[in-house]
Subunit: 211 residues, 2 copies
DNA sequence: ACCATTGTTGATCGTGCGATCAACAAGAGA
DNA sequence: TCTCTTGTTGATCGCACGATCAACAATGGT
């Protein structure tokens, strides 16, 4: 039989151990949600005693909210990077809508939705949620303002419209969490809706750069 | 001093007691969320022993999902009733958008969002969520199809568009759960977006019947 | 080779959860 | 008035959680 894995964990530097815990928390959250972030769960994944996890964190609420922030911020930056490669606002907005609805980030969506409710009882997390939402909104707002300057869009309140688009995307993603089936033209329909909101020409938000 | 409230509960008929438990569950869910629906919580509100609640329910998952269904179905019917009083599809869709975003139903929204995540670990609840979402979608679809018949809208796939509008509304509501401040023109912006999606004339979805 | 530093353990406490069930008592029918 | 049905109790079990901390052991500096 394989040796029982109850060996004493090798001694590591605080920075290294902290990184391990952070990474384990990230994986657990993506696989099983923020609710699964328990002392014992994280400890088991790292392969240490539960007390050690507690030793590296002020409390679990903090680990939950920092894990949420890490996961979500990474996604925001990744997509912001993709955007910067597109030449004009219409293509950027189209890419944004298309990318966010491609169902390849359902795990992150699940974490968003969970954070919205968990935030009611975890003030640290709630603050983190607001912060990350602001970051996303700024991404959208930047694109809308660019389109306004170009003349491709016609929006009086770019900030408000950015919030709206963000909310719409979040809602459609959350929906696909429960009802993955049925609708498939999601990107196209949403593009039509966004066009209506930003005052763009109907069909100008292409999903592919050229069909 | 007031008498200590540890008196034996008066004996009631099963139907009456069951109704009390159902109602207490409803109140708790609206005030503190589905997570607060515990045996002891419900029992305390009704004023009985915890065992009695368990006696009237197969298990807590069932109580959670039936409470969710009761709350949400009531809202659906209430709004469907309001809709039927409006004369044409444009006004109906406008009323729908306006009513759902008026922030007077944040408690129900919170329950929706909570149910989306709780459904991952409570299959009974997940089924209930899908059922209630279908009901909402049908309401939207009916309005869209009416508008199509009238000529007010121009939609090829009414079902898909209905799902989209539903998702957008849900997302914006969930957003206002965390970020209540900031945007105020929500109804107007969403109306613009929906117009783009259903192919209606810009500005035809009035928020007020006549301005 | 020794020792002080410090990363690590794991038992332990208090809390809250769902579920179970023998015992109890209120009330209706005889 | 007696009795039997049945609504009701509350202690109890097993489990999981966050948090705490004395004891332990690996390691690097001397």
């Amino acid at each position: 039989m394989s040796s029982t894995p109850e060996k004493r964990a090798v001694r590591k530097s605080p920075a290294e151990r902290a990184a391990e815990i952070t990474e384990a928390a990230r994986e657990i959250a993506l696989e099983a949600g923020l609710t699964a972030l328990t002392l014992r769960n994280v400890a088991a994944r790292v392969g240490v005693a539960s007390g050690l996890v507690a030793h590296y964190q002020p409390n679990m609420d903090a680990l939950v909210s920092s894990t949420f922030a890490a996961i979500v911020a990474a996604e925001t930056q990744e997509i912001a990077g993709l955007l910067s490669q597109r030449p004009n606002p219409s293509e950027r907005l189209g890419l944004l809508v298309e990318t966010l609805l491609d169902n390849s980030r359902l795990d992150v969506t699940a974490i968003w939705v969970e954070a919205w409710t968990l935030g009611r009882r975890n003030e640290t997390l709630a603050a983190s949620v607001r912060e990350q939402m602001d970051a996303w909104q700024k991404v959208f707002q930047g694109v809308v303002e660019d389109g306004n300057a170009t003349g491709a869009f016609n929006v009086s309140d770019a900030a408000a419209v950015a919030w709206q688009i963000l909310g719409m995307v979040d809602g459609l993603n959350a929906q696909s969490l429960v009802r993955w089936d049925g609708v498939n033209d999601r990107g196209t329909h949403l593009a039509r809706a966004v066009e209506g909101m930003v005052g763009a020409v109907r069909g100008s938000l292409q999903t592919e750069p050229r069909a």
